[in-house]
């Protein structure tokens, strides 16, 4: 690779002395790279990998307390039922939340597709739509939390059964909701910058794909939470 004369930020031009962090980065990277993708994309993937372990540990912890408790686990199908039209529809709120999140994932994929074609107005519009669905999801989650808190569910106990239900519920859905909230802010910031032409000037729309990775990951985590926490 040393014969390739590409101007890089890290590799110092010959003859000019570099020091400090730039020198450290230049020495350690040594003009090599393992992953031939934009560095921002690689970094987002590594962040998502670390996040996978966080959620993986949460769900494993949930499995452990649920399998080790002698008290009956609350029936999630009934706990999350809504009273609609004179009948209790089981788990309906969670089903709607799932569909909202999948819809947002679809609009995000469309936004990324538009960004590849450098169609910045449609890409930004679709990102705002995605953020809107995300906000809707967080709103429904707030409703769900309020409902459960009013029914007496606390992190240390609840009237329906095993006390571990409350702690795992608030921990797992709360952490996921935090991710959705951060994603909404991230989307809004990037979409606004996209509209203003910041990435046009920088010459790359790569950031849209990176935001997309984050958003799809949030949806991915929900797939596992939905299966293990709500359906199991």
């Amino acid at each position: 690779m040393s014969t390739i004369a590409l101007p890089t930020r890290t590799a110092a031009p010959a003859g000019r002395a570099v020091s400090g962090w730039r020198q450290l980065i230049a020495d350690w990277s040594s003009d090599r790279q393992a992953f031939h993708v934009a560095w921002g994309k690689a970094m987002m993937w590594f962040f998502l990998l670390s996040d996978t372990f966080i959620f993986g540990c949460f769900l494993t912890g949930y499995m452990t307390v649920r399998a080790s408790t002698t008290a009956a686990w609350p029936n999630t199908s009934q706990v999350f039922a809504l009273h609609i039209g004179g009948a209790d529809v089981p788990l309906i709120l969670i089903a709607i939340m799932t569909f909202v999140l999948i819809t947002s994932s679809g609009t995000m994929a469309m936004a990324v597709n538009c960004a590849y074609r450098r169609d910045r107005v449609n890409a930004a519009a679709l990102m705002f739509v995605t953020a809107g669905f995300g906000e809707m999801f967080v709103g429904m989650q707030a409703f769900e939390w309020s409902k459960l808190i009013m029914e007496g569910v606390r992190p240390w106990g609840n009237p329906m059964g095993a006390p571990q239900f409350g702690s795992t519920f608030f921990m797992i859905t709360g952490f996921h909701g935090l991710h959705v909230t951060c994603g909404v802010i991230y989307l809004a910031v990037v979409a606004t910058r996209l509209l203003r032409g910041k990435y046009e000037r920088a010459g790359s729309y790569q950031i849209v794909e990176i935001v997309g990775l984050y958003w799809h990951f949030v949806d991915l985590v929900w797939v596992f939470i939905f299966a293990f926490f709500y359906l199991w």
Partner: protein, 126 residues
């Protein structure tokens, strides 16, 4: 190898020469909208099926089997198509998809730990 990879290596560099990047990435990652729409529809269908498992009170082994199968199908579609993993280079795919398998070891350890705790609770606090 270095010479042939030059064009592909260029987009990844944190270089000021990013003007060459969009064209490269476009060639690499642009897929027909129809594909996204199909996957989107499939995700809806799979989610509806997971919900149906609960709604129709499917029980026992069939329930766990369906939940896990539908979950893995959805996760696979999201990662492969929406997150473009199906078109990434193998080096990145391995770096991202293999490490989470370590979680299976944790799950195995904690499952046996949970079983032990459960039995101990039955014996000590009957």
């Amino acid at each position: 190898m270095a010479a042939t990879n030059l064009t592909q290596a260029a987009p990844g560099r944190p270089s000021p020469a990013q003007a060459s990047q969009p064209a490269q990435e476009q060639a690499h990652q642009e897929h027909p909208i129809g594909l996204y729409l199909k996957v989107w529809g499939l995700l809806f269908l799979l989610s509806a099926m997971s919900y149906a498992v609960d709604y129709f009170h499917v029980q026992g082994l069939l329930r766990w089997g369906l939940i896990v199968t539908l979950m893995l199908a959805k996760a696979g579609l999201i990662v492969a198509v929406f997150m473009h993993m199906a078109w990434e280079r193998l080096a990145l795919v391995c770096a991202i998809l293999l490490p989470p398998l370590a979680l299976l070891v944790l799950v195995g350890l904690m499952a046996s730990e949970a079983g032990h705790t459960f039995l101990a609770r039955l014996v000590m606090f009957p």
